[in-house]
Symmetry: C2
DNA sequence: TGTTAGCACTCCTTATGGTCGAGTGCTAAA
DNA sequence: TTTAGCACTCGACCATAAGGAGTGCTAACA
């Protein structure tokens, strides 16, 4: 294990490197307060820390930079709780001055404040409501064979869909179908609706609804709640201000990731509670193995439904970003919950 | 005006530069077929072309590159109709193999094929349906005070909205309101609905609908068809493969533009019919004054409703991109029109 | 008069070598 | 165990030189 002094030195190096982005030399460390030993002693300790894998040396006569293992140790053991600065609080205050009145707007708004505060690329994985339950299903004829179906969940979310009705089916039959579905499926998980129909209701529907064979496609459509995982991003260009991203090829691989929605979803799907930090190789995706991804879940009515996260260089102000993300994710949950209630 | 030989030389230089991205020397031009004069003669002609502003010289002993004026002349007078290559046709064929069943999917799909074919950044400005007309308005109560309104246009588009109903208003009153609105507004331009209400219907509504003062907010909401101009982009990273975009700062200014949706909308709004080419300074936006933007309108049922375009370096294969865009915009119109009919 | 070969000249690109300085590792003394 | 001292390493920076692509000009030629 590391001695107290080694911890202090490691902390000092990372703390300096996070700001300067330059290898940190022994003299610089010795001048930091809390470290009251000479540069030579630091050099010995730094050699030890390097041997243990916490530090790296870009070349023989350069200072040291933290390794990914170093960052991991820093995050796990050396982090101090983040203190909001006056500027941050001001920005936050301005942020709250805006009223948002629907979910998408709230997401975009949250994204931009997060990007502003962290100076990183930020992501919000849109709410996935497949865990909510069916409240009611409606079908409304419009004209000709055009109709609209409306599916309402217990969370107050409304899915709407245009439908093309099959020919030669009287309206009363359709009403009967919808009534039956409502009766049987009310309260069921919306992600399982089609399964339930296939496994439990087909017989019943065939018995009670005329020409059900012509209506099974329509039934599937009615119950299909297309829930593509949508990722909102912001701050793409902020990352370009970081010296480690001034390389076009590196940037390209990250932008490729952003454009391929799936990749992002994979990157952000996030199981644990609270704030999760993934440093470098801890990420599965190759393109971000020299980046860090910090993420947190947000909830609607107590259920985790989405993720909010940032991507930045491994040289990231972890304390700050973790603190901000923790606060904003909780706050976002509150705001969304009220939005879903009120709307 | 330019002599035939000068045109041929200008054409040869641009044609070469589009591929090589390197200044073109007199020897290179003299070797091109169709130009049967010596390098020395070419040099004289190039000096003339430079004096006239069609060519530029990066430095004294370098070859020539086309100026923006040169590109403009090339596009206006020297372009040959684009011949689809076998590879392109293959890609197009694969593209058509996929079935799309709603508009957003069609847009994304079109975007990616366009990016693939042109190797540029591509944009599609989502359909703006404010020129369509109201067909019918519905309101459906869900539970508590939650309801859904449905607004159908003559183009078959459906707007849906969640509503929070005011307290103490009986359902029959709401029905009356909606009936009246339907009766009076059917066939009106949806972009003008609220105006018409304000200017012509307020009195009537007040006379026939009880407690209309409590319902005027709701009325506005009912008729509000939030139609944010949404821009879909693709191929952001393809542009990074072009040597002129290997500069991080340049890239940043373009990405900033993409992130600020409004900028893009401004860039793409497009009045003329057919394919429009804007080279360098012909663009209003500073960030793209060393790029070219090529765009075309697409239609739904004969009305232009949106724009599809590409952004790339001024050194762009204009013939190819114009040809592709012309074809795809027309094709996209056809596909969307059938989608809106069938759906 | 228009075209072409020849040639000096320009200026970018790349390679080379040298200096400077930050920072190290080692040694010896406190 | 800590510290001062010192030789050493290596990248960053700069100046200079060589190489080459391409020009502009001149003079000769059809």
């Amino acid at each position: 294990m590391l001695s107290e002094r080694q911890k202090r030195i490691l902390w000092a190096i990372i703390d300096d490197y996070i700001i300067s982005a330059e290898p940190v030399g022994s003299r610089t460390v010795s001048k930091k307060k809390g470290v009251n030993v000479s540069a030579a002693t630091i050099r010995n300790e730094m050699a030890d820390l390097e041997e243990m894998g916490f530090l790296e040396q870009p070349h023989t006569s350069a200072g040291r930079i933290p390794s990914q293992k170093g960052y991991r140790f820093y995050v796990d053991h050396l982090l101090k709780p983040y203190m909001w600065s006056k500027d941050d609080l001001m920005a936050l205050h301005d942020f709250y001055a805006y009223k948002v009145d629907h979910v998408e707007q709230a997401i975009k708004h949250m994204n931009s404040i997060l990007a502003y505060l962290t100076n990183c690329m930020t992501f919000i994985l849109g709410p996935n409501l497949s865990e909510s339950r069916l409240k009611h299903l409606h079908i409304i004829p419009l004209y000709d064979r055009l109709a609209v179906s409306i599916l309402v969940t217990d969370t107050g979310h409304v899915y709407q869909q245009r439908l093309l009705l099959p020919e030669d089916i009287p309206w009363s039959t359709l009403e009967k179908l919808v009534n039956l579905l409502n009766h049987r499926l009310s309260g069921a998980l919306i992600s399982r609706l089609d399964q339930i129909v296939a496994q439990e209701l087909t017989d019943e529907l065939q018995r009670h609804v005329d020409h059900f064979e012509k209506l099974s496609d329509l039934t599937n459509q009615l119950l299909h709640t297309e829930q593509e995982d949508r990722v909102y991003t912001s701050g793409t260009t902020r990352i370009l201000e970081q010296p480690e991203f001034r390389d076009v090829d590196k940037m390209k691989s990250i932008l490729d990731l952003v454009e391929a929605n799936d990749g992002l979803v994979q990157l952000l799907k996030h199981k644990t509670d609270g704030v999760q930090v993934r440093i470098g190789y801890e990420n599965d995706l190759k393109a971000v193995q020299d980046c860090s991804v910090i993420s947190a879940s947000y909830m609607i009515n107590g259920k985790p439904v989405g993720t909010i996260g940032v991507l930045g260089p491994t040289r990231m102000d972890y304390g700050r970003v973790i603190g901000i993300l923790d606060f904003l994710a909780k706050d976002f949950s509150r705001r969304l919950s009220t939005l879903y209630e009120k709307e």
